[in-house]
Amino acid sequence: MKIVDVVGTAFRNAFRSRLRTSLTVLAIFIGAFTLSLTNGLGTGVNQYLDDTVASVGVDDVLTVTKTNEEAPTDDGPAEYDPNQIEADGPPGSTTTALTDDDIDTIADVDGVLSVDPAKSVMVDYVQHDDGTKYQLSVAEFVPGMRVELASGSQVDLDAADPELVLPETYLEPLELGSAADAVGQTVALAVTDATGEQVTTDATIVGVAEPAVITMGGAIPNDVLTTTLYDLQTSGAPEAETTRYAQASVSFDPAGGEDAAQALKDRLEDAGYTASTLEDQLGTLTAVIDGIVLVLNGFAVIALIAAGIGIVNTLFMAVQERTREVGLMKAMGLSSGRVFSLFSIEAVVIGLVGSAVGVLGAIGVGQLVNGVSGDLLADLPGLTLIAFDPVSVATVVLSVMAIAFVAGTLPALRAARQDPISSLRYE
């Protein structure tokens, strides 16, 4: 018997008892559907995180903070450190500040190309043409940061003039017109200096940013603007105040790969600093999501195993039903191997149909959910809650087929072992 005939016959046999096959297919459908959906959820969320990292476009920057030796432990309260300042993170969390000495030390660490202390700037308001004043946050400075633009270009880090990328949401309140119109216009930014006086400076809009989670709706300044604002803000303050930074950005050569980056982190660690990439920071989140998806997948796999037992049952019935047919075919010279193939491929066909329908169903439902979640999770623009990548879809289909094959071996073996005469005598 030719392979095409074996497959064709198995395919037809699978649908000879339509109701029975449909019920088994339904069981597989449920498993495959759930598995695809949970997988899709993991893919969607992780893809979003990856895109977020990618949209920042920074793979050659480490965020460095001073390792806090007296980090609060369960042993009791930590001793007060005058160099401790407010840190990124949950409100109230502090970190030991980096001083200019620290910056120099970091710059001397082997592999560090440049160090930029993070100058955190508090802008009071933004104003255009003496219009209404609006609050504006300035995004934490990450060199090389890129955002999705509605118009214009990214800020030029080396530009001599102050530039910024403004979020799209400011266009209308500031009466800047369309995104294209806004590019090239000038806005005034105000900060309060150390003496309590409010001072303003001008900056040119070079780009308009689409909403994205990483900038949290803030504006992105270039180096010159940050420095200008920081200097205005700190003028009149004692020098000890102006040279304390919560963190610094260290750029390095990413060509060395993961190992080189890790070695650099270790060297910084030895020098008394904690370094992490943006990926490290999001990595924990990814791990948590992967964990949740794994547990959900576990449930789906249990459903699939139950469905596999359904296949065993279905095929045993089919073998029983076709005892005489199998006997006849063997009497006519069909080999046991071919009989085995006939039944195991029939099982695989049932698996294939169930998983294909399940995956398609999941993709359909995924589209619906994405439509709804787009409205519900408007704060997370660009998030596709349930995404399907071809590899994981193929993995689901193939592993269901593998489960089906394994499930089919027992009945197929029984059919293959049948002796033609007793099968023909079977009533």
Partner: protein
């Protein structure tokens, strides 16, 4: 008969054939040391009471079952030495079968039923179709090719079975009670077809039957009683 067997070496030859079903206290000896030669081109009837071991003998001759002891030679070769593959090949292309029941796949088309041995042999779809239609035409069933096997009359079904038996141009057709399920008139038609094949194409016939009339149309009849060939052997007219 003697002359025929002596002239050419027999197609099938059986010696001291034993077949025991079951074991221990349940053991039943269906064949008890049977000898038989079947010459090339011969039609032979195996007659005997129900339960005498006719089907058992036919299944052994057709290599569907293995004897408990004794040898079966085909073309002078000991068949117990055949590999599983050679055995399948022989069943598929040397033998054609008409069993006591029709054994048709009720839901499949008449054509598909007829061409099953070709499908098993690995013949291409196109050639299967052509040869299947030719066989059906030979048995005047070509207009039923697309029908479900289930929808045919008993006589038509038996003709489909015969078409299936001869589709691979076998050298021997084994027929177990080919007319047992048919009325006299239809049975006669089926008999005509079988003997016609024997005469025109030289296909050996091994027919198991209760029916003395059918047996008398064969070249030779052998009687089985209690698992042995009865002495009463005769050459038909």
């Amino acid at each position: 008969m003697r002359e025929a067997a002596d002239v050419a070496s027999p197609l099938l030859s059986v010696s001291n054939l034993h077949k025991t079903y079951g074991s221990g206290s349940n053991a039943f000896e269906a064949l008890k040391g049977l000898d038989l030669d079947i010459a090339e081109g011969e039609s032979i009837a195996i007659i005997g009471k129900s339960g005498s071991g006719k089907s058992t003998l036919m299944h052994l001759l057709a290599l569907l079952d293995r004897p408990t002891s004794g040898t079966i030679t085909l073309d002078g070769k000991d068949t117990s030495r055949l590999s599983a593959k050679q055995l399948n090949q022989t069943r598929n292309s040397t033998f054609g079968f008409v069993f006591q029941q029709f054994f048709l796949n009720a839901q499949a088309s008449v054509l598909d039923n007829v061409t099953l041995p070709l499908k098993i042999a690995g013949v291409s779809r196109r050639e299967r179709h052509a040869r299947g239609m030719a066989a059906l035409t030979q048995l005047e069933l070509d207009d039923k090719a697309g029908n479900k096997a289930n929808d045919l009359s008993g006589g038509q079904k038996q003709r489909v079975v015969i078409a299936r038996a001869l589709i691979n141009q076998p050298r021997v057709i084994f027929a177990d009670e080919p007319t047992g399920n048919l009325d006299t008139a239809t049975g006669a038609v089926v008999e005509d077809i079988l003997f016609d094949l024997n005469r025109r194409q030289g296909i050996n016939l091994v027919v198991v039957t209760h029916d003395e009339d059918l047996a008398s149309r064969c070249d030779r009849s052998v009687y089985i009683r209690d698992g042995l060939l009865a002495v009463r052997e005769e050459v038909a007219a």
